[in-house]
Symmetry: D3
Subunit: 221 residues, 6 copies
């Protein structure tokens, strides 16, 4: 029965390019005998999710989407590293709900002892640190650093990759991280090159969350 | 200059009776030489704040209120024990913003070692526990228990007080709490009787937060 | 290329019935487009893994198995709740290695805030508690209790299920767990009935670990 | 009735200049409708409180002062960043007792996530670190550094301010603090300039503690 | 050279019976080729050390004793479970200083995972809990309970032993302790019987501290 | 009776030079009235213990040695900083079993607040960090750094000492350690010179563990 339903991966910002990137990154997880994966854009969402207000607004929209699509949904993954709406959807009974920051960190915990997180902007870091503490995993995250590029600047992909590599090396050398987590939903195309350049395993969080969701759906729990 | 401004205490639910109760509870803190305290009701807010969705919706409204009243505001206190919008308002530069759950717990930390929190509903407890952990004070909160009464049932004040006393005694005897925090904005009328009946100091969180806000305003930092 | 390789699920005790049970429990995870899953029994392993010496001996055997099967292996899952050999295999370069206790707990962290673990024997509990602390997740595990049945007694499946339900209810009511983890590799047949009887989500750790392994294999990282 | 009583702010060293500085710093908190604030010097106290022996001796004196002035006291604030006698006074029934290191840190926890503490001397830092851990807030204090000036050298106020600014910037840049706590009772005159120079909010702990005391006194709990 | 010096074990209360009991308990540690052990009573000390004020006063006396006996001292052990003066003596250069609560807990950490502490009076428990947290071992101490007998009542040794056994069993059964620490300096005569009755290893903290001191003295570091 | 038995100090690697060095380092702890100390080499052990597989193999051998020598043993100390077999021996009833990493760290906790650990190789550090966390003392270990020399290179003792001093100074200056622990069994000859050069107390862990063992044996518990 679950096969006839859809796993929704919700990009809570309104940027359809980001959604397309997420969609492509999930191709390896698609399978004839698994629920279909549909990546959706919340048109009313903010252009990018940077501030706490962006997160709070997105949470309301994500929750509303989940309520509206609950009948046909196998489950929901929130594809934003601030996991907007995650705990809200979880209060709907019998709904599978996973967040990419949560699953990205949990997956990284199987790949290294000391996690380094690469954020986009400094403003998000205290918010993320509160999340690691709320999850009770603060002792595993040895550092989080931002690449310090605005949404506009992210369009320059080579410079973005370079900034990620520089940040990843700082986490490796100064914070002694032995695994990295990409702190953003739309960075899958950089994962392999970042990993190669820094020499540490790198977790792409949307892929991590969708993997965990599909496992749960196959198992039926 | 601060004297000509207003400290807004925001009740993010739409229940004006709750706002009136909060307003009365703050009378002892009013002073001729301190900023005036104005308690406001968010008419668009949910009737009560129980679910995570209630909190997320309230956060957006609280933030909007803060933006709209920023010019005349000396500061903002969110008078809901889930502190909706707290971190969002804090991202507005130069705005004093305190939350009642945060200040209630911090104040209790000066009155006892082992904090017990009295919640209204069980559904809020995991959300609160995540907050204590995000604050880094989880080792100080030895227990949180709900009185288990719906919003409607709260109207019966004697039964509510009895449930609070019973819950406070459980926290004292089973969890070995030596100070209690009332996990709700509108319970000030019960504070003294609860304290007398249980024999432990009791923190009323809205009073605690407004006290800390007024100190900051007098000091100008 | 990964498709031509095998994900080995290693039962480090010598009990082939346990291996058969694990094998059956993994059927929902098998797919035409995923690496084949092979459950193996370590014939030289102890009859059951109960003591620390059992774990240390199993660790050596698991490691040896991994070295011998490395060429054809897509990865290894150690199907024993003490994760023998896990960190040893991880020191072999470029080998995917997951443990069921680690993945069981990490998966449960997405399904509830307060984890309760159901162990078989009391002697394992301090060992497990050290593992939760070493993982840095000790604040999430609110209790671990043993059903207190010997390996021989586990054969009586109705009595075993009853003991699990009784233990799960104790974790729910006394420790306030809101999600349960089965602290043993071979208990999948009880998962649904345990969940129904206790009313909390229940994680079967071998299924959880194999799910996470398959996701990683599909993604190629 | 509380209005006829006095809030004693106890400088436990014998330096009356320090007491005068504290007294001036509390002016903004004085009000016609609040208990009067009296800053007292313990003539028998050490010249400065630097060693653990200084702290232990001061604790005995502070306690004796509290016992002797209990009848006319609205409460006591110990104005030394090692909070001598704090827990001792708290064992006197029905006596309000707050410490400046405790309240300084708790107040800072509402103003930033990552606290940096500026100590005077290195010898005090392990003592302070034990206090943060005893309070259960060690994860919030990301660093404590000393300005490294002797009591005699503190007299050169420009050089002292410079050292504070240099230390504050190190906490900001190396430890990533986003709020600073002045780890000394007599540094209020530097607060605003330190804050301006470093660009982070700065907590003056005696002001923080007296604010919290006055709130409690107004509320009568 | 160390052989010509004395290891002072300081009973900071004025009760010479307690000192005599400590002295007898240390006999097994005396050796022809180790520094002599001398147990001293501080005549000016309080009759018993129960309150924080008792601790603070004792700290000053212990420190003074150490200063006065420094030349002939091989080292100092403070034989009171609140370790008065411990950190103060440690600030005297090149002086070995150990405390019985610290060493009792550290020794117990090699004998079991979950420590239960048996206190004499409830009033001491928050003080002890702050110490475990300041030591950073709070996660190892699963409970501390008081036998609830006054100093006068301790004279009835059978009733005291009974109360200790009852408390030890509560720590074992309710808190799941697997090792016990006697939270008092003068209880060595009960150690074996308590251990036999409860069935858990029991640490006598003065013996533990003197053992660690003698090892250090033999090694010369 | 204990006097007629032997305290076995087990070097679990096959290097008899290391055993001889350990043996010499224990001379100051030998006494006519204490159990004799015998240092043994496990001939089947790995040449050096570096990998997790080395540790797991050694654990099995250490346990077997303990079983075979149990009758004549007063107790066992595992003289390898990964404490192989420690928890396994502890499951044998009535057998004293101490590990050098555990006792080294616990002893250091009485000599400074912030522990720095000097490892031989980087590969061991995550394993050690998991141990500190499993012990619940992770907040006390502020850093662990490796000298980065292979077993072969350790033969050059002057270069090894220099590397230790350099590493110790880094722990002191960058991590603010105030006590050092030597993270290896065979480094006693360097202890004093390391301490003198770095200016911090240095714990030699085998000496620390044997001291604690002898105290326990003298006391009979």
């Amino acid at each position: 029965m679950i096969m006839s339903k859809t796993l929704y991966v919700i990009n809570p910002n309104s940027n359809t390019d980001v959604t397309a990137g997420i969609d492509a990154a999930l191709d390896p997880l698609r399978s004839a005998d698994a629920p279909r994966i549909e990546c959706v854009t919340l048109a009313e969402g903010p252009r990018g999710i940077q501030t706490q207000d962006d997160v709070d607004r997105a949470a309301v929209l994500v929750r509303r989407f989940a309520e509206e699509h609950r009948q046909q949904a196998a489950g929901f993954v929130t594809a934003c590293f601030s996991d907007p709406g995650l705990h809200s959807i979880r209060e709907i009974p019998d709904v599978l709900s996973l967040g990419i920051s949560e699953c990205g960190v949990l997956t990284a915990m199987t790949m290294g002892l000391r996690l380094g997180v690469i954020a986009i902007l400094d403003i998000s870091i205290p918010r993320h640190l509160r999340t690691w503490a709320a999850m009770g995993v603060q002792d595993r995250v040895v550092g989080e650093l931002a690449i310090g590029r605005t949404v506009a600047e992210l369009a320059d992909s080579e410079a973005t990759l370079e900034a990620m590599i520089r940040t990843g090396k700082a986490l490796r050398d100064t914070h002694r991280a032995d695994v990295l987590v990409m702190g953003c939903a739309g960075m899958a195309p950089y994962r392999q090159r970042l990993q190669d350049a820094v020499g540490l395993p790198v977790v792409e969080p949307t892929q991590a969350a969708v993997s965990m969701a599909l496992g749960r759906l196959r198992l039926g729990w």
